[in-house]
């Protein structure tokens, strides 16, 4: 049967096995990665799937990036991170993009984990002649009122937790 149109070409040289147990973990261009179809996302987008011939581990094109297992579009996540590094607070970003605060917090956590890996990889063997050191003062504190409310609820006779028949 003749093929309909030209088959899409994809450079598999850039892909490497993400399975840490595999002998070819992280080694690209070894010929162990083959295409293994596509998956359709909730929003109709398509993601490529790959297979490592050595360990039979299957993974998709988003594995190893912050977008893996995220339902939100890439543009929205990147915009949220851009706003965060340009001086907007978490709550502000959540309000502007109409997402939950915890969602933005989750994206920040993913971005920080990725950044940590990049820093580990790139910031080494530096040749510098002078290093300046200094410290910034800042403040970390929880909402005192919320803490007080939690303490109050834990007190005996406070009426919390509410009986099950209420509401």
């Amino acid at each position: 049967m003749a093929l309909k149109g030209r088959r899409p070409q994809y450079n598999l040289e850039h892909e490497a096995c993400p399975n840490e147990q595999c002998s070819l973990y992280g080694k690209g261009g070894k010929g162990n990665i083959v295409s293994n179809g596509t998956i359709t996302t909730l929003h109709g987008g398509k993601r490529r799937k790959f297979l490592c011939k050595v360990c039979r581990h299957s993974f998709c094109s988003r594995s190893g990036t912050i977008f893996y297992d995220l339902r939100t579009s890439e543009e929205k996540v990147i915009l949220a991170l851009k706003l965060l590094v340009k001086g907007m607070p978490l709550r502000g970003v959540a309000e502007v993009l109409e997402v939950k605060l915890d969602t933005v917090r989750h994206w920040l956590r993913l971005a920080a984990a990725q950044s940590k890996k990049v820093n580990e990889l790139l910031l080494k063997e530096l040749k510098v002649s002078q290093i300046e050191m200094d410290a910034l003062w800042t403040f970390v504190k929880k909402n005192a009122l919320r803490e007080r409310a939690t303490l109050w609820r834990e007190k005996p006779g406070s009426g919390f937790p509410l009986p099950k028949n209420i509401g």
Partner: protein, 221 residues
């Protein structure tokens, strides 16, 4: 860890590169891990000049990591011989910029001093990191003073700082690092903007935030 928090930063002056940061409850307690992490990212056998403000803990941390036992020869006279003591290695070079203030906390003088090794007083300055602190406070709402956007949890602050570090080094072009480039007629016309990572030779191009977030990293632990 809640309440007052200090973020220690080490900064390569020539490339405007943010090498490492450390978060702790006091400034004195973060000096040692900050120096250790910074040294872990330097090339083997490199001995840069370290400069800080008047906080002696930075110098103590350096001395603790690179010290030798200095013994004194016997004088032949009566009495207890002088005790050996730990001194900084001769390769360690460390200078301080000490701000002297009056009773109203106004700066009356700035004194530069070489603490360990021979450091030319001309090279001792903390200007670049002080300016970097301003950039940090400007671009991270958590660090902006006199607002209610301060961090509520330590993890959030750490995440923001980690992301900002890589963003600052790889993505954000630094105006102080731009270089003149010539056109076809060999006339200096345009400016080429660079990031600290490009200036330091870590990468060859300015990264995009998407590139930073989608680069697949494989680290063998």
């Amino acid at each position: 860890m809640e309440g007052e928090t200090w973020i220690g930063i080490s900064f390569a002056k020539e490339y405007r590169l943010m090498i490492a940061f450390m978060i702790d409850s006091t400034e004195s307690s973060l000096c040692e891990p900050l120096v250790a992490e910074t040294e872990g990212r330097l090339a083997q056998g490199s001995w840069p000049v370290w400069v800080s403000d008047g906080m002696d803990s930075y110098g103590d941390a350096l001395k603790k990591r690179h010290c030798i036992l200095k013994t004194y020869p016997r004088t032949g006279r009566r009495g207890r011989p002088r005790r050996p003591k730990l001194v900084a290695c001769p390769e360690v070079r460390y200078g301080q910029v000490v701000k002297q203030r009056d009773e109203r906390h106004r700066i009356i003088a700035v004194v530069k001093q070489s603490v360990y090794g021979e450091v030319p007083l001309k090279t001792i300055s903390t200007v670049y990191i002080e300016r970097h602190n301003l950039t940090l406070r400007h671009e991270n709402r958590r660090l902006t003073r006199k607002t209610i956007a301060f961090s509520k949890r330590n993890e959030g602050l750490r995440s923001q700082m980690t992301m900002y570090q890589s963003y600052y080094n790889l993505v954000r072009a630094h105006r102080g690092l731009k270089v003149r480039i010539s056109d076809q007629h060999n006339r200096l016309r345009a400016w080429q903007y660079r990031t600290p990572a490009v200036a330091a030779g870590i990468t060859d191009h300015i990264w995009s935030l998407k590139e930073l977030m989608t680069t697949k990293i494989y680290i063998n632990h």
